[in-house]
């Protein structure tokens, strides 16, 4: 790692102030950032640690949505009664990120702000139509937040503070692991709402987490496995690497979408 200054702000306001420093970088659980720093792929001058900020932690149910603080750890989301009863698929997703030790450090905010193309959380945020709240007072719809691989609508120094997840009538996440990293080679999050269905794909798309419009349309008129059986995600914008060709990923998207719908019951 290159050396950097380390700051542990006492409040969100202090954190926002600290982020104004040149080459400042926020760190939450650090489960992605620290390996990146170890590989010397980033050289921030100052790290602003958000993991101690109580105001960014916790889960609450507010009417038809779940509000989860950005610094809430995967383990806390997975174990939260509120999440398990409102959106069990989200608790299950959080409980299957990385491994137990990673889940004790990694956070929701870190995951959505990083927008790794193979991360799990962005698919949930996108499929559930979540709203991402930021330190700049913005409330950004997930559809507008995830702009591409490792790219989001966050401005320089802007921090994710909370994510609000609308509560669906049913949802399911199917993750097919990359054999080495165990990140999602393909992950499909299907959410059913009274007004229709949303399907988000992670791990597979060149443009990062993406919705599958055709499957959504089919499921919105007939929410059944049959409605998506035989549907194919266009392979032309899919990632190809040693772990899977675009054609393979396209196949997995179809299979996992169908299985997610089946699991929704």
């Amino acid at each position: 790692m290159y050396n950097f200054d380390y700051l542990r702000p006492a409040s969100l306001a202090e954190a926002v102030e600290a982020m104004k420093g040149e080459d400042a970088q926020a760190i939450s659980g650090g489960q992605t950032l620290i390996p990146t720093l170890k590989a010397r792929l980033a050289s921030p001058s100052v790290l602003v640690d958000l993991s101690g900020l109580a105001e960014l932690k916790g889960v609450s149910r507010e009417g038809d949505k779940l509000a989860i603080g950005a610094a809430t750890r995967h383990a806390d989301v997975a174990g939260s009664e509120a999440v398990r009863s409102a959106i069990p698929a989200l608790a299950a997703l959080a409980g299957n990120i990385g491994d137990p030790a990673v889940r004790n450090r990694g956070t929701l905010g870190g995951s959505v702000a990083n927008n790794d193309p193979a991360a799990c959380y962005p698919s949930a945020a996108l499929a559930l139509g979540a709203t991402i709240h930021t330190s700049a007072g913005r409330a950004i719809a997930a559809d507008d937040f995830f702009l591409g691989m490792f790219e989001t609508a966050l401005e320089e120094g802007e921090l994710v503070t909370r994510v609000d997840f609308p509560i669906p009538t049913a949802a399911n996440y199917q993750k097919f692991e990359q054999p080495a990293s165990r990140f999602a080679l393909v992950g499909v999050f299907v959410a059913r709402f009274p007004g229709g269905a949303r399907v988000a794909i992670t791990g597979a798309c060149e443009g990062g987490v993406s919705r599958w419009d055709a499957a959504e349309a089919a499921l919105s008129s007939d929410f059944s496995a049959g409605a998506v059986t035989g549907m194919a995600f266009p392979a032309d914008a899919l990632i190809g690497d040693i772990h899977g060709t675009p054609a393979y990923r396209a196949n997995l998207i179809g299979v996992l979408t169908r299985r997610a719908v089946q699991a929704c019951g």
């Binding site: 790692m1 290159y2 050396n3 590989a39 097919f176 054999p179 080495a180 990293s181 165990r182 040693i242 772990h243 899977g244 060709t245 054609a247 393979y248 196949n251 997995l252 299979v255």
Partner: protein, 792 residues
């Protein structure tokens, strides 16, 4: 009934306590006063010409003590190769120099160009980024077939990239060709044995120390064989005589072959410690390990098996391209030849066998032995071909094997080696029963009801272990003997220190070797201490690899204990005033036959060191014996493995449902430890078959450079195993009757798994899929076969 101590007992491991409490002593756990740290600047190009290196900025960086380049190594030799293969024209193999730091050219990603020694590890790494290397990229040679098809050469000494072109046995070529031409049926299979990275969990590390007053060098290193490192580095690289060079391999966190070899980093820290007159430490990180530890396997083969109408094997012919990487690692040339060609009979009485092996230089990390080393490659090509033959001939795979098994021992194979013992039908019977082969069809139907494809695969293996008779390996090109040494020191009060040239890095020698000695002497195991890993304490040693420690190292201990007992009997005879021939020794008691006169072990030991009443004219005081044991033959462990899998045809994912092993390791000293060795071997073999694979792109960039892309088997990828070693035929030529168990699991399991998957896919008519059988590959094979299956 299970024994509670000595040979045959599952004694709990004494070494566990320090590992379980965090008090193990691995190389990186040690820090020497005044220690500096080295960071190696490594090539990020697969092939390039070094036009210049500017180290000025790095040398001026904070904490930097010195920056080394190849200029600092002009007076020393290259990293040597320990085995000379002679090619089919009688010419010696091509052996280009392997410099400690790159001289003029880099030849693989990871080739060290310069080394920065600084006060802290971070400063060394920071400064390395300030070195400016004018590196001109050259075309890289990566693909094996392309490498031998003309074009770019890795070394000017080998313009066709061939290290050697080897025929074996050369005299069988015509007869094999003719048998294949005239056979009723020939099964043909082209396959790849995938390139692997050993990945012991402890990355390599080394500390060099120098004592100027005594001109004494010490190297602490993560090695499987400290004496071999002393020999190779002292004699061939740095020119340090043995008495001035101590090599210590303390606790070592796994090796699997990758820690056999002498590496450039070891020579570097040893020399740098002298140049700087302070200790120099290097610790690899995992990314560095991927591009600097020797890799394993990497063969491309074509196999032809000729049969008569009843499926009797008539002849086997194989041609192999074996990757050597950019330089020859210590044992690299012998892996695809003498540890591979000599095993091509497998468990079968195939009368005619011929192989051609071409060893190929490429711009990749050197390739050498990895758990099994040549024998997994031989086993895989035989057992895959036999399975394919069974399908083509319409003969049950178990039956086809039985029809061709060697059943008479000793058995002289047509590929030079003579098997001393074995019972291949016995292990097959055990594995068929243990895996409930009879119930498979019902299980398959149950899987089908869930949309899953179930498959059952068998494989047999034979291996040559206990490496090896020195005279034989010398004739085959080894530049060292392959015996083992042991000193047994009986202390005055009867406690015992055993100094062994074998090295334990997970095998539990501290426990099993003590069991052997305890059993022979009838003394408690805890009165025996096993010392290993230090050239200043152990008389000599060739180290631990090739499943040789108990068969060769254990035999050396047995020889020493025999000498101890013989001498102790003389002392006892004197003390008891009896004829030596009347002295018996049993359960730690020396007795005069036919009388009630006896002496305890401790009394005789004390007399040896307090020789007041002692046959001093004919016998020296003291009780310590050293032996060197050079085996008469290899040992030949064998076994039968069965694997049952379920394939998800929609995703291609393979789940290993069960794995059953029936091994013949000869006599077993500690069943618990032997079973553990099999478990570990199985996991590595199943890893190779299912998920592991080292991948370079066409430019020689290492794609699988971390655990993010190189898949390591996790607990959730594997089932619990069923292992059995009761089908035992003792080795006939070593005193313990033992054969070796370390590599078996890794040798026999890959073909068993692949055979099982192809059985599951039999309705699709898929003849072969190359390892690793990742979901994407299996799905692609199914996808490509679907139209054909649908059309039927």
């Amino acid at each position: 009934m299970a024994k509670d101590f000595g040979i045959g007992a599952s004694s709990k491991r004494r070494e566990d306590k320090r590992f379980l409490t965090g008090t193990g002593r691995y190389t990186d756990d040690m820090n020497k006063p005044g220690q500096a740290y080295v960071h190696f600047l490594r090539s990020d190009m697969a092939s390039g010409r070094i036009n210049g290196i500017d180290i000025a900025a790095a040398e001026a960086a904070p904490g930097v003590i010195k920056v080394f380049t190849s200029r600092d190594f002009e007076a020393v030799g290259g990293v040597p190769c320990g085995w000379q293969v002679t090619d089919r024209h009688g010419e010696p193999m091509k052996e280009p120099k392997h410099p400690v730091l790159a001289e003029g050219f880099v030849r693989h990603v990871g080739d060290p160009i310069a080394a920065v020694v600084a006060e802290t590890r971070a400063q060394a790494r920071d400064a390395a980024e300030l070195i400016e290397v004018d590196l001109e990229e050259l075309p890289a040679v990566v693909n094996l077939r392309a490498a031998v098809s003309g074009g770019t050469a890795v070394h000017p000494e080998a313009p066709d990239n061939l290290c050697y072109d080897w025929d074996f046995p050369a005299e069988s070529k015509d007869a094999v060709d003719e048998a294949i031409r005239n056979a009723h049926h020939v099964t043909v299979l082209e396959l790849v044995n995938n390139r692997l990275v050993a990945n012991p969990m402890e990355p390599r590390a080394a500390i060099g120390e120098y004592d100027a007053a005594d001109d004494q060098h010490t190297l602490w290193t993560t090695s499987q064989n400290p004496h071999v490192i002393r020999l190779l580095m002292g004699a061939f690289v740095l020119g340090i005589p043995e008495h001035k060079l101590r090599v210590v391999a303390p606790d070592v966190g796994g090796g699997f072959g990758s820690k056999i070899y002498h590496y450039a980093e070891e020579a570097f820290v040893t020399l740098a410690a002298k140049v700087l007159n302070r200790p120099v430490k290097w610790t690899s990180d995992r990314g560095e390990a991927f591009m600097s530890d020797a890799h394993g396997r990497d063969h491309v083969c074509k196999v032809e098996l000729a049969m008569d109408a009843e499926g009797h094997f008539l002849a086997l012919r194989s041609t192999t391209l074996a990757n050597m990487g950019a330089y020859l690692s210590t044992f690299a040339p012998c892996i695809p030849t003498w540890l591979h060609g000599t095993l091509l009979a497998g468990n079968y009485k195939t009368p005619l066998i011929f192989t051609n092996v071409r060893a190929v230089f490429t711009n990749t990390v050197p390739v050498d032995a990895y758990r099994g080393a040549g024998r997994p490659e031989a086993t895989y090509l035989i057992e895959r071909t036999v399975d394919k033959a069974a399908r083509e001939m319409g003969i049950d795979p178990a039956e086809l094997r039985r029809r061709n098994f060697i059943t008479q021992f000793p058995y002289q194979t047509p590929v030079a080696v003579e098997y001393d013992s074995g019972d291949y039908n016995a292990t097959l019977d055990k594995v068929l029963e243990g895996s409930d082969r009879a119930g498979f069809e019902a299980r398959k139907a149950e899987s089908a009801s869930r949309g899953k494809l179930r498959g059952y695969g068998l494989a047999h293996y034979i291996e040559a272990c206990g490496i090896a008779p020195s005279s034989l390996v010398g004739a085959l090109g080894a530049r060292a003997g392959l015996y083992e040494a042991a000193t047994v020191r009986v202390n005055p009060t009867g406690s015992i220190s055993v100094f062994t040239g074998s090295h334990s890095h997970g095998q539990g020698h501290e426990t099993t070797f003590a069991q052997v000695v305890a059993d022979m002497l009838g003394v408690p195991e805890d009165s025996i201490d096993i010392v290993h890993g230090d050239t200043n304490r152990v008389p000599f040693g060739m180290g631990t690899y090739g499943s040789r420690s108990l068969a060769v190292g254990g035999s050396a201990i047995v020889k020493s204990v025999d000498k101890i007992v013989a001498k102790a009997k003389k002392i006892a005879a004197h003390l008891l005033e009896a004829a030596e021939s009347d002295i018996t020794f049993e359960n730690g008691q020396f007795s005069v036959q036919g009388t009630d006169k006896s002496l305890a072990w401790g009394e005789v030991c004390l007399a040896a060191y307090v020789p007041h009443k002692y046959p001093i004219e004919t016998l020296e005081p003291g009780l310590e014996e050293t032996s060197f044991y050079d085996p008469a033959n290899f040992t030949y462990p064998s076994g039968a493995y069965a694997c049952e899998v379920e394939v998800d045809p929609e995703t291609g994912k393979v789940e290993v449902l069960s794995f059953t092993a029936a091994d013949d390791f000869g006599n077993v000293v500690n069943p618990m430890i032997v079973e553990g060795q099999v478990h570990g071997g199985l996991a590595q073999g199943l890893g190779q078959a299912l998920m592991e694979g080292c991948v370079y792109d066409e430019n020689g960039q290492l794609i699988t450079a971390s655990f993010m892309d190189y898949a390591m088997p996790l607990a959730k990828d594997l089932p619990s195993f069923t292992v059995d070693n009761s089908a035992c035929t003792p080795c006939t030529h070593n005193p313990l009757g033992v054969k070796g168990c370390g590599e078996a699991g890794a040798i026999g399991s890959p073909p068993a798994l692949v055979n099982a998957v192809l059985d599951a896919l039999s309705d699709y008519g898929i003849a072969h899929i190359d390892m690793p059988l990742t979901p994407s590959k299996v799905w692609a094979a199914i996808d490509a076969a679907r139209p054909a299956a649908a059309a039927e």
